[in-house]
């Protein structure tokens, strides 16, 4: 393998790792906030647990999407071209 190809390969791996690692910070914070607030609400009103759980899962699925964009980007860097 030539030096240039090796450098390109190295750049791909480093780029994919950084993209996924930094991209996972935001959804982590967001999902943590959603979970903690949902727990508080459930503790205050235990009779609402069913509704709150489904709403919490939906909100988490939406908050997750920015992390998934970085996952897609990382896969694109690694696999496509």
């Amino acid at each position: 393998m030539e030096m240039a190809d090796a450098l390109v390969q190295m750049g791909k791996y480093i780029g994919a790792g950084i993209a996924m690692g930094i991209g996972a910070i935001g959804p982590g914070i967001g999902q943590g906030n959603i979970g903690s607030r949902a727990m508080e609400a459930m503790a205050r009103q235990p009779e609402m647990v069913g509704t709150l759980t489904t709403r919490m899962l939906l909100a988490m699925a939406v908050a997750e999407s920015t992390g998934l964009y970085s996952l897609v980007i990382a896969f694109m860097i690694l696999l496509v071209a």
Binding site: L58, A61, V62, E64, L68, L71, V72, F75, L79
Partner: protein, 278 residues
Amino acid sequence: MKLNLTRNEKLFLSVFAIVYAALIIYVIVTGYEYALEGVGIRWIYQLPFGEGPLSRINPMTVFMTWGIMALIIIVALNFRKFELMPGKRQTLMETLLGYMLELTEDAVPRKRFIKPTFTIACTLFIFILISNIITAFPGLNTTVTEDGVKLTLFQDTWYSPTSDLNTNATYAVMVLFISHVFAIKAKGLSTWIRSFFQPHWLMLPMNIISEIAKPISHSLRLFGNIMGGGLLVLIISYLIKYFVMPPFLWGFFGLFIGAIQALVFSMLAIAYIGSLLE
């Protein structure tokens, strides 16, 4: 909760469970291939006429889309007869559609547009739900190697049309078009054009960018979940070969994440249509 199942349903469920368990054993015994070769590469067919991206199709996506549409039509034809005292299947469908109708009534402010929005959202929901759920079961899929395309049976899950960005982008762009057509119908052309100059004419590029960003985020969310789930199963199975069997991961990503993402997609479609009607 107590289930009262008739004899036929018990028979069907036990046959289903036995077939699923047999498939899992078959997959494990015949050696599930943990190779990461050809991951993420699609079978692309070049049509004999035309050139550019519009002349290339993904045959598996087309095939599976038609298959799922045929399945939905067959199921829908069985639901023709509605009874006053609902049976089990009718109760299930009524609960599901009633929930969607409630969501639509909350989000869409104009009475005229509740029913069309509900129809669009439910159609999207049922199609995406079925195409996500089939990724929980082993079935027909393709692997692309350097020699050519290889059809594999029971080595991987069913190929899902929603794991192809083209399908998701089509639906997202369709939702965008429908929301603007509804807005023009509801508010009139001049009010619709003026809504782009709110709150000041300097904000025009921002408003246009925010409209274009809607279908992108809408489609990439579903695509990332389904495609990323499938790839994650392959990679996790590759990393911890002998501890986690892929069928359980398929169940998690297909049934749980798939159902949530189908609901999120249709809810966002309702929200996008409703937000332009205010």
